[in-house]
Symmetry: C2
Subunit: 211 residues, 2 copies
């Protein structure tokens, strides 16, 4: 412990690696705190001052990381993208069936916005109403479909997924079902999102499986 | 023509039927004009004064029909409901296959919000952000699923739709796919919604058809 502490101390304060790590930490903290506040108060009702205060950083700090409040949502979009990349690696490793890889992925994608219905509504409202964020989310989703397409190709190769459908189309099927579920679920007063996703995945798989 | 004119004249001005008809006409006009303006300027950027001015009625008139601007959306929700009721009658008449009834219905449901991507985004933002409207839309969609469920039951009876799925679940599949398509389409810069719906219906049917 002491050794580590001393080791840390010996790294120059301006070390690019350390600075980068701190930046990532602060960005992550601002994201977490913002999501929490969006869930509690709503996206439009939360100010950047609320976020910096709750994250215990200076007021101006926020704008070192995000040009606007809406841009916090781009972090969520990146996180979802990482889950898809991870699923692709899992599929390529070949230990799990493609069914199980995609099933786990759909649940994991629903996890973050699915923390509360108010949060999902806030997030959707925010990205629908801001052109720049929508463009970012759209591009990220397109990259996500490329990775989903690769997973689906593997499924076709292994005989799990029907070969008469384009991987890109089935990737869209996956996204459409997931986002449609989130939207319908977010309109309800209270309900278990995982149970919804379970039915949705069953439908997705019915459309995708080999027959 | 003259006879009809005289006949109309002989009806007392305060006739409940006529008053009701006029109310329906004015409500419909306010709806059409509002949708046009939402598509052109966005939901939040359109004021009730903009709507009454474009509809050529007195400023206060708006509130005789809708408590708030958001409530205009309840008319859209009713219209979608009517399309589903109509499809149910079509299915019960037994002249068209259930495949064709549901295929036509999905395209017709996409028609109204599908007039422009900006309109769809406006509509979704508005109903996500207003509790009362969201509750209304949610209840209307639930009634819609009841009618969809009846159409699906007929499909199961006639051997077109698989019998191992609950009609209510497949009704949800239909709505989830339709609303998911609208949301994803509304995020694009420009694209043909009917082509999107065509692929979506193919997926829906893959999940629903008898095998």
């Amino acid at each position: 412990m002491t050794a580590t502490h001393q080791l840390r101390k010996s790294v120059p304060a301006a070390s690019p690696g350390r600075r980068e790590r701190r930046r990532t930490e602060t960005r992550e903290k601002l994201f977490r705190v913002a999501m929490q506040l969006f869930a509690e108060r709503g996206f439009f009702e939360t100010t950047t001052e609320d976020i910096t205060e709750a994250a215990d950083v200076g007021q101006g700090t926020f704008f070192n990381y995000f040009p606007t409040k809406q841009h916090v949502l781009t972090v969520l979009s990146e996180k979802q993208m990482e889950k898809i990349s991870h699923a692709r690696e899992e599929a390529e490793a070949g230990k799990a069936s493609i069914h199980d890889v995609l099933h786990g992925l759909m649940h994991r994608i629903a996890q973050e916005p699915g923390k509360s219905q108010a949060l999902t509504r806030s997030l959707m409202t925010a990205f629908l109403s801001n052109d720049e964020v929508r463009q970012f989310v759209r591009n990220t989703m397109a990259r996500g479909r490329e990775n989903l397409g690769e997973i689906i190709k593997l499924g076709q190769k292994r005989g799990e997924i029907r070969r008469d459908r384009k991987p890109a189309d089935l990737a869209m099927t996956f996204q459409r079902n997931t986002i449609g579920t989130l939207l319908l679920w977010a309109m309800q007063s209270e309900d278990d999102l995982d149970a919804w996703i379970e039915k949705t995945f069953y439908d997705f798989w019915s459309a995708a499986e080999s027959r």
